[in-house]
């Protein structure tokens, strides 16, 4: 497995503007993240709001500049080169944004929205371009008649499909979805998630799926990375991570998923306290202020990501000891029956359409 996208030691702090009567605040948004995404895999980045996952997504595409660290895409550097030199590379890596109401230029027609990557990267002439726009619209489940309309004439789910078509227009190999479904209605979420999976298979895409919705993540991803206060605390194959979470934070996160079946419910041992401010992260292990297993060493020494088991990394001094407790603490996760039913229905419908087409 070779890495399509690789990040090393990625770090980005946001500094408050200097002010004579206020101390400078430095928010440690992303603090030393290493990440590798293999060709064809779906990596999910999860964590609660404010943990830096969106910043990480933007750093990977260099929509914001890292303070330090490097990103390479398909062996070529993304960081440390001029923006103009980066532009050709951008065709290969695209982004889908969270808010479909803010991410489309309100003054563009759909044909311009989808056609622009083709123009900018000189992928096709005017006639071919129109054919391509029509095709892309059909690929994402819209119709070529929609090309002349403006974004405000569409619903949230349709707009997200337009955003996906735009992302696909430049033939990318990698798509980063920054909470691509969390602004949508639950029923629409399933459709868009299925669409993404279908497109991924059809165009052999690599996906990075940034989300806080753990049940969606379980459904779509091959591998999961859990973030807390700007750091990755655990990563591993999805099933293994959901079944035996190693880091106490992951354990708490998974325990917070609502369980439908009363027989499977267990007393909530949720975390106490709030997430510490990212402008003053606690010393040592950042999670020690809320960790039920914290000991003296956690306050002093920051744990590093270590390999435990197959393909799994965890940043916890006592992961091995806690793992046993954690395994029993995490309830068996089953897909909610209604959601599973809905997804199955959509899949069947999609298969029917594919057959008839």
């Amino acid at each position: 497995m070779s890495a399509l996208l690789e990040a090393r030691g990625l770090r980005r702090y946001f500094r408050s503007k200097p002010h004579p009567f206020a101390a400078e605040r430095v928010v440690h948004a992303v603090d030393g993240v290493d990440l590798a995404v293999a060709q064809g895999e779906t990596l999910a980045i999860v964590g609660e709001s404010g943990c830096g996952k969106s910043t990480l997504g933007r750093l990977l595409l260099r929509l914001i500049e890292p303070d330090s660290g490097t990103v390479t895409f398909d062996g070529q550097p993304v960081t440390g080169i001029a923006e103009t030199a980066l532009r050709p590379l951008r065709a290969g890596m695209q982004m889908i944004f969270q808010d479909p109401f803010a991410s489309l230029n309100p003054r563009y027609r759909v044909s311009e929205i989808i056609g622009e990557p083709i123009i900018v990267h000189r992928l096709a002439g005017p006639r071919e371009r129109n054919a391509r726009i029509a095709e892309l619209l059909k690929v994402v489940g819209l119709s070529p008649e929609h090309a002349g309309r403006y974004p405000h004439e569409f619903s949230g789910g349709q707009r997200q499909r337009i955003g996906i078509a735009r992302a696909l227009a430049s033939n990318p190999r990698l798509i980063i979805g920054d909470e691509p479904v969390s602004a949508l209605d639950v029923s629409i979420q399933a459709q868009v998630v299925n669409l993404l999976e279908e497109l991924k298979a059809r165009f052999r895409l690599t996906l990075i799926f940034i989300s806080h919705d753990l049940s969606v993540v379980r459904h779509v991803s091959d591998r999961v990375a859990v973030m807390y206060l700007g750091e990755i605390v655990e990563s591993g194959p999805t099933d293994a991570l959901y079944e035996t979470p190693l880091h106490p934070y992951t354990q708490a996160l998974l325990r917070a998923i609502p369980v439908r079946d009363p027989a499977l419910r267990r007393p909530h041992a949720l975390l106490g306290g709030d997430v510490p401010s990212a402008s003053r992260p606690p010393p040592g292990c950042r999670f020690h202020t809320r960790c039920p297993h914290a000991r003296a060493r956690c306050r002093e020494e920051a744990p590093r990501l270590e390999a435990i088991g197959e393909n799994r990394l965890v940043a916890c001094h006592f992961a091995r000891e806690i793992a046993n407790a954690g395994a029993s603490a995490a309830p068996p996760q089953r897909e909610a029956p209604k959601r599973a039913g809905r997804l199955a229905l959509y899949r069947a419908a999609a298969a029917r359409i594919a057959d008839s087409g």
Binding site: T84, P106, R107, E135, P144, F203
Partner: protein, 291 residues
């Protein structure tokens, strides 16, 4: 990746509908505004054909005559026909209003965009210069510039345009700052859209509405500023008329000959109203969101 080649030959996209004009025409106030502006423009262009008298012809037997069947708008303090002067005055006043605003837009919008979009040192330099210009009252600045450039209508228009530029710069910069952080601008960067194209196709269309409205307001201010400059001898040179210079002379005869002030005043009022209504209509028609 390649798209399925087997797909039926791509059907043509539907023809693009031009809705802007349709929407503008449906807006009654905008049509009224555009009509007023067009009538005034026609009046300015065809002044020699429609004017009943020579605007510079004096007649000492007809000093300050009230309006009658021959001189519909009356005559002024040296017996010139007010109607003829209002018609010919449209030339100077409309030119002063429009050209100076075009100057202000041509200079102010690019500078504001650069300051707002690129930020950093560009913003520092442009914004500080703008602040310095804004600290001088609009009219004083226009007078100083006009005096520096020398008395003529062209120089007066330039001076008014430059004096109005800082308002446009500041507005453009502020709007750009607001739009720059929108998701769709970040999305354009992610796609790899060059910066100039982002500025012209993403930011400019989305900040055009307030700038357009501001511009129509400046047209009004510029017409009045031209009047002030004319009064000081820095604008339209006598005996050629402009509405502003007519008003300025008329104020000395307000009690004896109010028609001297009323008609150029009405003309300014109507022209400004026309530009404002048209500007509002344009703003709405250009916004695809508003049906």
């Amino acid at each position: 990746m390649t798209m399925d080649a087997a797909l039926p030959a791509a059907e043509a996209l539907p023809p693009v509908e031009r809705r802007t004009l349709k929407k503008f025409v449906r807006n009654r106030a905008a049509v009224v505004g555009a009509t007023i502006v067009i009538v005034f423009l026609a009046m300015a262009i065809f002044a020699p054909l429609i004017s009943p008298f020579d605007p510079a012809q004096t007649n000492f037997r007809l000093v300050r005559k009230a309006p009658d069947a021959l001189h519909w708008f009356g005559t002024d303090e040296i017996g010139r026909d007010v109607l003829a002067r209002v018609i010919f005055g449209a030339r100077a006043s409309l030119l002063a209003g429009c050209i100076s605003v075009l100057v202000a837009l041509a200079v102010g919008v690019p500078l504001g965009l650069v300051a707002g979009y690129l930020g950093g040192w560009y913003d520092m330099v442009i914004s500080r210069c703008t602040d310095a210009l804004l600290s001088i009252p609009f009219l004083i600045l226009a007078i100083a510039l006009a005096a520096f450039l020398g008395p003529s209508l062209t120089n007066a228009m330039l001076a008014i345009g430059i004096a109005a530029t800082p308002f446009i710069i500041r507005l453009t910069r502020g709007q750009t700052l607001a739009v720059r952080t929108e998701d769709y601008v970040e999305g354009a960067r992610a796609v790899g859209v060059p910066r100039l194209r982002i500025a012209l196709r993403y930011i400019l269309p989305n900040i055009a509405a307030p700038i357009l409205v501001q511009a129509t307001l400046i047209v009004a201010q510029a017409i009045i500023a031209e009047a002030s400059l004319s009064f000081l001898g820095l604008g339209q040179q006598p005996p050629a008329p402009s509405w502003g210079s007519m008003l300025n002379t008329a104020k000395n005869y307000m009690e004896q000959a109010p028609w001297m002030a009323i008609w150029p005043g009405v003309a300014i009022f109507l022209a400004v109203l026309g530009f404002n209504l048209m500007g509002d209509g344009l703003r709405d028609a250009l916004d695809p969101r508003d049906v």
